[in-house]
Symmetry: C2
Subunit: 215 residues, 2 copies
DNA sequence: AAAAAACTAAACTGAACCGTATAGTAACTG
DNA sequence: CAGTTACTATACGGTTCAGTTTAGTTTTTT
């Protein structure tokens, strides 16, 4: 018999459902472009609709208001941006040797300006709206904890023992994120150029040092 | 003879001049409050005037438009926020011993949430508007280079030789700024609490390590 | 073919905003 | 005291914006 499902969440979506979801995705794509470029306050719903190639009524048919659209967009982005950055993809597996894995991870992060251009804009958006949308900031950090710190901590446990591994991981990630922030987000390459390879190499060397006695 | 100066930049300002500058400062204070709280786009000039306790005509008498006011405000803040953070004040001199100075500097930075609450909002503003006002970002970084990296580099030269001193300084500052950003700006204390003292101590120890051979 | 659902284009409401203008007031100057 | 300056309060013009509505079209379902 034909599916008695009258427009719900069937496993096999109807043609109407597919069309609707297609439009919904178009709205999200348009919103992504506008919000990432102009921030929350300076983005107008008219331009979102135009960028999505969709009428304004359609936008409001899928999302209750501007805030709902923003939240739906950013929630979707938190996951994809971070997991792409840390390479959950199968072909981008890290080397088995911990130190080499760290070096590879550092190189990958410092390349994000080219490999993940949207990530920088997204990071700026998260910081810019961290007061207006604190849940966004928290979700971002929780995902970063889950996707990044966890993995790196495991690497440091293999290098320098378990005691300081998490702190070392945070330090490692922090130094990388900071460089990206200053150089790529704040146009620091034009103000104070830094040798990224030397930076990464020194970072890996220092932060992998054995847990010896303090100087 | 009495000063023939007719309203210019005399060394002894007239009473009128003083009144005017007082109002101008009130406008800047109101603007600071509003811009730091709501960002550029979401701040209205009407609310700036209200926050300053001043009529809107006075605002536009002192500043050509919203952008000019924003630029004047942020330019003024770049200097004061950073120099207060790094303690150019006489009573806040750093210890003579380099390692102790680093520890003191780290502690001071990690306390900025309490000692310099405006700094966090300002940092968020600089990042949020780094595309709309790239000069602001560059000025901020240039000042950070001048006030922060320079000093810290000198400390590391005294510890680990001149070769890697600058990179070590950037690494040191980067790890600190990152922690502040994640914990204080992005509400990370509620998501992933970090022992700040342990973080600072490990940071100082690792980044002060002798320039020995890599592992 | 008829009914239903989702869409489009365009106009509209009510409010906010930037910047200007007007009219009048308080303070300083010569 | 007369003139100038900076201010206040208020209102206005023109634009933009969030969100709704209206009327009509395309697509899917029955």
């Amino acid at each position: 018999m034909p599916p008695a499902d009258a427009g719900g969440d069937a496993a096999v979506p109807s043609a109407r459902e597919r069309r609707s979801q297609h439009k919904r995705q178009a709205v999200l794509d348009g919103a992504r472009c506008e919000f990432l470029q102009h921030g929350y306050a300076a983005t107008s719903m008219d331009r979102v609709a135009a960028a999505a190639g969709v009428s304004k009524a359609t936008v409001y048919g899928h999302f209750a208001d501007k805030q709902a659209l923003f939240r739906a967009l950013t929630e979707a982005m938190v996951g994809e941006r971070l997991s792409e950055l840390f390479g959950a993809s199968p072909q981008q597996a890290l080397p088995a040797e911990p130190a080499a894995a760290l070096r590879e991870l550092a190189a990958r992060c410092l390349e994000c300006r080219h490999s993940q251009p949207q990530f920088l804009d997204f990071l700026r958006l998260v910081i810019a709206e961290s007061e207006r949308f604190p849940e966004l900031a928290k979700t971002f950090l929780a995902q970063l904890e889950h996707t990044g710190v966890g993995r790196v901590t495991a690497l440091f446990e293999a290098i320098a023992g378990a005691a300081e591994a998490e702190l070392r991981a945070r330090l490692f990630m922090g130094a990388l994120v900071h460089l990206i922030l200053m150089q790529d987000l704040l146009h620091g390459r034009e103000v104070a150029p830094v040798d990224r390879e030397a930076y990464a190499e020194l970072l890996v060397r220092l932060v992998s040092a054995p847990p010896g006695t303090p100087g």
